[in-house]
Every structure is written in structure tokens, then in C-alpha cells.
């Protein structure tokens, strides 16, 4: 039965190889890289209560909205902004090169207040319509703001009432500028000149346009990787993987001769199928994920080692070559299953319990184990059956 079906089984292998090649190549751009490899920021924010602004459902929803606005203005491609649980907001910014600036912009409350001499707030940023960076006559960056109609009215009142006196401009309670009102401003437009650097002015404009957060927000987790460091990691991981694969290929040929060559063929199938599945499942490759893959390369040939050793034993015990191969595959299978189930238990746990990059390790390890059971047992059986009569193993 097995022998008669051999051409079909071989065709299935060829078909899978063709399909995988189609899915995997050209590799460039097909494998989704995690933030630790492509560079970027993973930022977890938490809304915290303050006496003035306790956190409620509506506040958290607005926080998400405002942060989304701010990030849109940062010009990040494919950002992720997602609420996590009751009070947390997850922000992922791929490719960000200046994570400190990103965090400053995302996490700032950005409450703009105008206060008169007595320290009373006369107007807030809630009435802003727009904010833009401009340059004054000396070429210094300033932030030009314009109010909505309500704000323009309030601002006109405030400036009228305070001519000749300072009107302090505060951001999150910190004085950023304290201009003296020369004359009433009725048009609803003003400038904030606060000895800014260009970047500071740009940040402020973004914050003011997107609006103030209704509650205080704290950064409780920030994992950021500069893109060049990520690229270094990819290159190092790739180098380690390639050398690792070569070492395993060489070992199998040196130790098991032509049978080792068949195991190597199966290993190459494993790598191909693994990445086809990985891409097909739209999984994300992380740095620990690379480690998981490298590890499964070594584990993948374990199945072949177990089978070949069993074949040797069966042959030594006096069975015919054919019978030894049959018995070897059959008897080793139970061990291979055992070996993989326990490792899979650990891998699936990391996959389901883990967070962030380590999830990537669980993914590659689980996928690698499942895939290697197929290539190590089924695919290598096809290769062994195809060449069985022409091959001999030293026993």
C-alpha cells in the first residue's frame, strides 16, 4: 500500500514545496517583523486618578481618541492604538527613530491655560481652533494659535481687562510664557513666544491641535528599539540561523551518510514549510522568535536521529533492510510524539501567556515543533522510501 502510493506521496511533497516557494519567495517584505527587529516603540499608558480629574469610562475613550490624533500628526506609518483593560492604552509605533520625543508627545496632558496676575484661569486650550509653528521677525520659532468663536470672545475679554499687565501662559501648570498685554486682542488669534527650539515649538503645536488629555496619563511600560539596532539584530540572527542550519546539515551527513542527506532534504523542506506557514498565518517575527526558530532547526532533525538509530538497531537484530526501515519509522514514532508533546506544552504556554516579543518565541517554537513532526516523520519517510534500495547505512 505504502509503496504503491509512493509516487503520489512524492507528488504531495513536490506540491507543498512548490506552494511554499510561491508563498515565501521573494522573501523581502513578506515576513512581518516585530518592533524589536524593525525598530519602533511599544508604549503602555495608564490613566491615573487625580483629585481634579478622576478617571471614568468617557475619559479613557477620549484619551484614546486624542492620542490617536497626536500620533496621526507625528506621521507614523501603521501605528497601533488600542485600549487594554479598563484604564490602559497600548501604543505601538513602528519605525520611530526618536522614541523619547514620541513618548513626550503621547504622554503629556497638554493642558493650556491663560492666567491673569491673580493666578485665575481666564481661558484654556479647550477653546483652541488651530495651532501652528511660525517664525517671528528674528526668525525664532513661535506657536501661532487661533481660538473658536467662544474662545475669541473670552480672549478679547481677558486681554481687554488686563492691558498693561502680564497674562501668563501655562502648559500643565508650568509657565511657558508671560507676555504683557499691549492692547486688547479681538480677532481671536495670538502667538506663544516661549524661547522654543524648533522641535519644542513643533511638539507644542501638535499637542495643542490634538487637544489636552482629560485625565493624567502615565507611561507604565516603554520598549523602544532604534531601527539600526533592530537591523543589527536581524543580521546577527540571520547569520546565526544560517550557520546553525549548515552545522546541522553537515552533522547529519557526516554521521548518517546518505541517510543523513535525506534528513537534510527533509530539514530544508522544514525550513521552507515553516516560513510558508509563518507568512501564511501572518505571524510576527521577533528577536526571541529568531531564537525559537534556530532552536527548532536543531530539534527538527531529532526525529530523524531517533528513526535512523532505530532502523540501525532493527537491522542489527537480523531484520531485512525493508523491514528494518518499516519498524524503525513505526517504533520511533511514539518517542517522537512524546518528545514533541512535552516541548509543545512549554511552547504553547509562552505563546498564550506571554506578552510582546516573547510571544514570538512561543509562536516560532510551536510552529516549528508541529512543522518538524510532519517533515521529520512523513516527508523524510517519502525520501527514504524513494531511495531505500539504493542507500545503505553503516550499522
Amino acid at each position: 500500500m505504502r509503496r504503491r502510493l509512493l509516487p503520489w506521496r512524492f507528488l504531495v511533497v513536490l506540491g507543498l514545496v512548490a506552494l511554499s516557494v510561491f508563498v515565501v519567495f521573494p522573501v523581502r517584505g513578506r515576513i512581518r517583523l516585530g518592533l524589536d527587529l524593525r525598530g519602533g516603540s511599544h508604549i503602555l499608558l495608564e490613566c491615573v486618578d487625580t483629585p481634579e480629574a478622576p478617571v471614568d469610562e468617557d475619559a479613557v475613550r477620549r484619551v484614546v481618541e486624542i492620542i490617536r490624533n497626536r500620533i496621526d500628526q507625528l506621521g507614523v506609518a501603521e501605528p497601533v492604538i488600542a485600549r487594554q483593560g479598563e484604564r490602559r492604552v497600548l501604543v505601538q509605533l513602528p519605525g520611530v527613530t526618536d522614541p523619547q520625543r514620541a513618548v513626550e508627545i503621547i504622554g503629556k496632558t497638554a493642558l493650556l491655560e491663560f492666567k491673569d496676575e491673580r493666578g485665575e484661569t481666564v481661558l484654556t486650550g479647550a477653546h483652541l481652533k488651530n495651532a501652528q509653528v511660525q517664525f517671528d521677525r528674528l526668525g525664532r520659532p513661535v506657536v501661532a494659535i487661533s481660538f473658536d468663536s467662544e474662545g475669541a470672545k473670552l480672549f478679547a475679554q481677558a486681554t481687554t481687562a488686563n492691558v498693561g499687565r502680564p497674562l501668563g501662559i501655562y502648559l500643565d501648570g508650568k509657565l511657558i510664557s508671560n507676555p504683557v498685554v499691549q492692547e486688547p486682542i479681538l480677532g481671536g488669534e495670538a502667538q506663544i513666544t516661549g524661547r522654543f527650539t524648533l522641535e519644542e515649538a513643533q511638539n507644542l503645536a501638535i499637542l495643542l491641535r490634538a487637544g489636552a488629555l482629560p485625565v493624567k496619563v502615565e507611561v507604565i511600560e516603554n520598549r523602544s528599539v532604534e531601527p539600526t539596532l533592530g537591523r543589527d539584530s536581524v543580521n546577527a540572527g540571520l547569520r546565526a540561523a544560517v550557520i546553525g542550519v549548515i552545522l546541522v546539515l553537515a552533522f547529519m551527513v557526516l554521521y548518517y551518510g546518505s541517510f543523513g542527506l535525506l534528513a537534510d532534504l527533509a530539514l530544508l523542506c522544514f525550513i521552507l514549510f515553516f516560513f510558508a506557514l509563518f507568512i501564511g498565518l501572518r505571524a510576527t517575527l521577533t528577536l526571541p522568535g529568531i531564537a525559537g526558530f534556530v532552536l527548532t532547526v536543531g530539534m527538527a532533525v531529532d526525529a530523524n536521529v531517533l528513526i535512523f538509530e532505530r532502523i540501525k538497531e532493527e537491522y542489527r537484530s537480523g531484520k531485512t533492510w525493508r523491514a528494518s526501515i518499516d519498524a524503525g519509522f513505526q517504533k520511533a514514532f511514539r518517542t517522537i510524539l512524546d518528545a514533541n508533546v512535552t516541548t509543545l506544552i512549554a511552547a504553547v504556554l509562552l505563546f498564550s501567556l506571554g506578552s510582546g516579543p516573547i510571544k514570538g518565541f512561543g509562536v516560532t517554537l510551536s510552529l516549528g515543533i508541529l512543522c518538524s513532526m510532519f517533515t521529520g516523520v512523513w516527508v523524510s519517510r517519502v525520501f527514504v522510501d524513494l531511495f531505500a534500495d539504493r542507500l545503505k547505512m553503516r550499522v
Partner: protein, 293 residues
């Protein structure tokens, strides 16, 4: 090429030596874990880790004195190259992080921030809880599987050996004061899952050989024969798994080196225990109180 032909090594004869060695391994590991402690990374302990590339080469002492002016003289400084450094401190606020970057930039020409790992206490606690759950569930899962798969006694000795393997990996991480991070936890979990296999292979073979044993054969002889029979696969599976991990250790970059080290230690000690300890413990148990079969 054949490294391991039919061997006739008397493993049972050296089992007392193996017991002593294993007890020492476990004792030293436990001692180190309790007294030296695990060097928790920011994942579990919380804190801030910043990796910089500077405009010029800088010594660790110089770096430490600059950090001293910031009140951070006690930070952990790790060096990858003369113009790069990883600085680990207690949790710094956003403002302090920016101020520190600015200070380093001012003093060292330039300070490019390559990596931030900033974990607050709440997240650190979450990760610790998650880590403990993962470890417990993994151990539970493996126990359940082994209980189904083995008879009682081989299951117990395999689990003992597994605990021995896991503890030794943690012990080495603690002794070398490598950072205990999520990847290291992942390595320990993986070793627990992987290491049990070799024990399964050996104990299965013993069971098989017991069924067809000759009347005159002693228990030790059967066990020795069984271990010798499966020796090449025990060693070769560990070796093929270790080869790419070696490559990872040497070529995979600094960030995966500790992970690779933990796996290599686990593979070595796991292979050792499945050859020298698991079945030996079982033999002594059987000899002390023979199990009816």
C-alpha cells in the same frame, strides 16, 4: 563516521558518583539562588534600561562619574563596545530620561539612544505573576503527561531529574549573575519540556528490555544495556539541538547570548541526568522495595 558504536559502559557502577555530583549541582544552585539571588532584569524587577551609542569612546569609570552627577552612580553599566553602553537604573521618569540623554549628549559629543526598556512596578508585577503562572502550568502539564505516559516510579524519578535540570539552569544564571529576563524564563520552560524526552527514551527502553529479560540478568545489567542501546540517540539529539544554539551563542548578538547559554546548560545537564540519574534512582528504588510486576 560513527562516534558511538555498540558501547558497554557501566553507568550503574558510577551511580554513587553521579548522585554526589547531582546533589552538589542542586545544592550550589539552590545556595546561589537563595544567597546570591537572581539578578532580575527590568522585565521582572521594573526599572529603566537605556542603551546609548556615543560620539566617542568612553570608559565605564567616566560614564559612572557622569551618572554620579545625576545621582545614578549605582546604576548597572554594561558594555558592548567602547562607544556603546547599556545603563540600567531604577525607574526614571520621562523627564529624567530626557534630561539624562541631554546630559550625556553634552558631555560625550553625542548620545544616540538605541534602546529603551522602561517597566513600571505594576507591569513588572504583572510579568512576574505571568512568569510564575507559566512555570507552574508548564510543570503541571508535563506532570499530567508523564503521569499518563509512565508508570508511577519512572515518572517520579524523571520529574526529580527535571527539577534538577531546571534548578541547575537557574543556578548557573544566578552564579554568573546573568540578568533573569523573560527570554531566560522562556529558556527554562523550553528546557523543562525538552529535557524530559531523553528520560522518556531511556525509561521506555528499560521497560521494553524488562519484558524480554533473561532470567539470570540483574536489574543493573538490564538498565546498563538499555542506556547503552539508546546512548547514541540521547547524545545525538542533544548534539543536533545544541549545534544551532552554539551558533546563536557566538553569532546571534549580545541580546540572545544569555538565552543561548541557558539552553546550552540545560541541554548538557538534561542529557547528563537522563543518562546517569533517572534510571539509577529508579534502580535503587526498585532494589529497596521491589515492585510487583
Amino acid at each position: 563516521m560513527e562516534f558511538i558504536r555498540a558501547t558497554h559502559i557501566n553507568f550503574m557502577g558510577v551511580r554513587k558518583v553521579a548522585y554526589v555530583l547531582s546533589l552538589v549541582l542542586v545544592a550550589v544552585s539552590l545556595g546561589s539562588i537563595f544567597f546570591r539571588g537572581l539578578n532580575y532584569g527590568v522585565d521582572f524587577a521594573g526599572g529603566t534600561l537605556l542603551q546609548f551609542r556615543f560620539g566617542r569612546e568612553v570608559t565605564t569609570e567616566e560614564l559612572r562619574s557622569i551618572l554620579g552627577t545625576f545621582g545614578l552612580a549605582k546604576s548597572v553599566i554594561q558594555r558592548f563596545s567602547p562607544n556603546e553602553a547599556v545603563i540600567r537604573t531604577t525607574k526614571l521618569s520621562q523627564e529624567d530620561q530626557s534630561r539624562l540623554s541631554a546630559l550625556l549628549e553634552e558631555r560625550l559629543g553625542s548620545a544616540e539612544l538605541l534602546r529603551i526598556e522602561d517597566v513600571g512596578p505594576a507591569v513588572g508585577a504583572d510579568l512576574r505573576r505571568m512568569g510564575i503562572i507559566a512555570l507552574l502550568v508548564a510543570i503541571g502539564g508535563i506532570l499530567v503527561y508523564v503521569a499518563f505516559r509512565f508508570e508511577f516510579r519512572p515518572a517520579v524519578t524523571s520529574i526529580l531529574a527535571l527539577a534538577h535540570d531546571g534548578l541547575t539552569v537557574l543556578g548557573v544564571v544566578s552564579l554568573l549573575q546573568r540578568e533573569f529576563t523573560i527570554p531566560i524564563l522562556a529558556a527554562v520552560l523550553t528546557i523543562l519540556g525538552y529535557s524530559i524526552n531523553d528520560s522518556i527514551v531511556v525509561m521506555d527502553r528499560i521497560r521494553e528490555n524488562l519484558l524480554g529479560k533473561k532470567r539470570s540478568e540483574e536489574l543493573e545489567e538490564i538498565v546498563n544495556r538499555s542506556i547503552n542501546e539508546v546512548l547514541s540517540r540521547t547524545i545525538n539529539t542533544a548534539l543536533t539541538t545544541a549545534l544551532p544554539v552554539f551558533s546563536l551563542f557566538f553569532l546571534g548578538g549580545k541580546m540572545l547570548q544569555d538565552f543561548a547559554l541557558a539552553i546550552l546548560v540545560g541541554l548538557a545537564v538534561g542529557t547528563y541526568s537522563s543518562i546517569f540519574v533517572v534510571s539509577a534512582l529508579w534502580v535503587d528504588w526498585e532494589k529497596r522495595s521491589p515492585h510487583r510486576r
